[in-house]
């Protein structure tokens, strides 16, 4: 298992070396291997397909520009997701911060004030929307850690490497993120039945 992982890592490293020399095929191979992972991260952060695709494109463009900075022996996935994370944050600050500031102020109750006309109303979609809005209310770091843990299924150690913070800090922030989500959602939990 360990050998298999090491072989995989060596293969990825050799592809990155080829990209450094301008090998288009190697670049496309790496893109195919990691594009969905980057998309998952971006989508769970923004919940918008177009934004997520922009992030993926920008991430691989930046990878190509900074390929010479990749250190052999390090995890390529973590390095790539670190770039994706930075792009997500920059993108968020540039395009979404103002909207989400307004959303934060908006009461979640306002969303549920409109009477349900259809009998086929799906409570889970309400819960999904409530959860989505509660997620936005988390701090940047807590949201990123939660998204990486829940949707990218990364281990705490991998998240620590991507975010360049201590392992204990990751665990602590994840705990806080989940607890805050619980606090934010608790008034609406009983209603959903």
């Amino acid at each position: 298992m360990h050998t298999q992982k090491k072989n995989q890592q060596d293969e990825i490293s050799s592809l990155v070396e080829r990209v450094k020399s301008g090998d288009r095929e190697a670049f496309m191979t790496l893109t195919r291997l990691y594009q969905r992972k980057v998309f998952q991260l971006a989508y769970s952060y923004f919940r918008n397909k177009e934004d997520a695709l922009d992030i993926v494109q920008e991430t691989f463009l930046r990878f190509y520009q900074k390929a010479h900075m990749f250190q052999k022996g390090k995890s390529f996935q973590n390095w790539l997701l670190q770039m994706a994370k930075n792009i997500c944050i920059d993108y968020y600050r540039k395009h979404h911060k103002r909207d989400n500031e307004l959303r934060r102020k908006e009461n979640i109750e306002e969303m549920n004030q409109t009477p349900h006309e259809s009998s086929h109303h799906d409570p889970s979609s309400d819960l999904k929307e409530i959860f989505s809005r509660c997620l936005v209310k988390l701090s940047e770091k807590q949201r990123m850690i939660f998204v990486m843990k829940h949707y990218n299924h990364l281990h705490y150690s991998e998240i620590a490497q991507i975010l360049d913070i201590a392992l204990g800090t990751v665990k602590s922030l994840h705990f806080k993120a989940v607890r805050n989500l619980r606090t934010l959602m608790s008034p609406y939990m009983g209603r959903m039945g």
Binding site: R47, K149, H174
Partner: protein, 258 residues
């Protein structure tokens, strides 16, 4: 509890928590609430899967690489060469080297401006004010020219003496013309003595002293001095190569014009 929910605990800790949950209602309730959050978060998974499936991932890498590689079709990245010289001559250091060169030029100019002799200034009353260095240079040049003049005249006089026959040289030295010339030269020698000491023209001083002694002797020539004795004096002048030494010293002084 969160670590337990996300299966981040090792086997031992996991069993500990499970055992605790069987007895602690409060922790059990907390875990249930966390599970609800977990399940609510899972609701987004389906939406995300739908979004992922809607993307043409097969052609996506081509789309991205077209945007990158078509912008720079012919340029292939050169691998970085190792070594000190390639490192030193990297393009990113151009600015540093340009700054260094500029600094050296500016430093040289500033040094020149600081240490060069200041120019002559004209005072309000029309007098020319010059720095001390200027006067020193003038003095040296005047001493040099005076010495050259003394040597020239001495040479002519000695040539006249040496090239004449002993009988004629007696007549020559006893004439008023030669006598006057000799006196003038001895007087000039006294004048340039101070300058020769001050400005340390040591070699020139030695020759000038020898010439002076010779002239003193020649001044003493009387009617009783025989042609033989005169011939000896001529021979001494030639033996000491006095005329050659005069030529050499004069040449050196002319070369060192200030």
């Amino acid at each position: 509890m969160v670590a337990f929910l996300y299966d981040e605990l090792n086997e031992f800790d996991k069993k500990q928590v499970e055992a605790h949950l069987e007895t602690c209602q409060k922790c059990k309730a907390e875990l249930l609430e966390l599970k609800e959050v977990y399940e609510a978060a899972d609701l987004l998974n389906a939406e995300m899967e739908k979004a992922i499936e809607s993307v043409d991932w097969k052609n996506f890498p081509t789309r991205i690489s077209d945007g990158i590689f078509d912008k720079e079709p012919s340029r292939k990245r050169q691998p970085r060469r190792a070594g000190l010289w390639p490192f030193l001559f990297q393009p990113r250091f151009r600015l540093a080297y340009a700054g260094l060169l500029l600094g050296m030029i500016v430093g040289a100019v500033v040094t020149f401006l600081i240490f060069q002799s200041p120019p002559l200034q004209v005072a309000d009353d029309g007098r020319i004010i010059a720095p001390q260095g200027f006067y020193d240079m003038m003095e040296l040049e005047m001493a040099r020219r005076d010495t050259i003049d003394y040597l020239d005249k001495s040479e002519y006089l000695l040539l006249d003496f040496v090239q004449s026959s002993p009988e004629k040289s007696v007549v020559f030295w006893q004439s008023d013309f030669a006598s006057q010339r000799t006196k003038d030269l001895l007087s000039k020698k006294r004048y340039i003595d101070q300058q020769l000491d001050k400005i340390k023209l040591a070699k020139a001083k030695v020759i000038c002293d020898q010439i002076e002694l010779l002239f003193f002797e020649l001044m003493q020539i009387s009617d009783e001095l025989s042609a033989e004795e005169l011939e000896k004096i001529q021979f001494l002048i030639q033996e000491r190569q006095l005329l050659l030494k005069i030529k050499l010293i004069r040449k050196e002084l002319q070369k060192n014009e200030v």
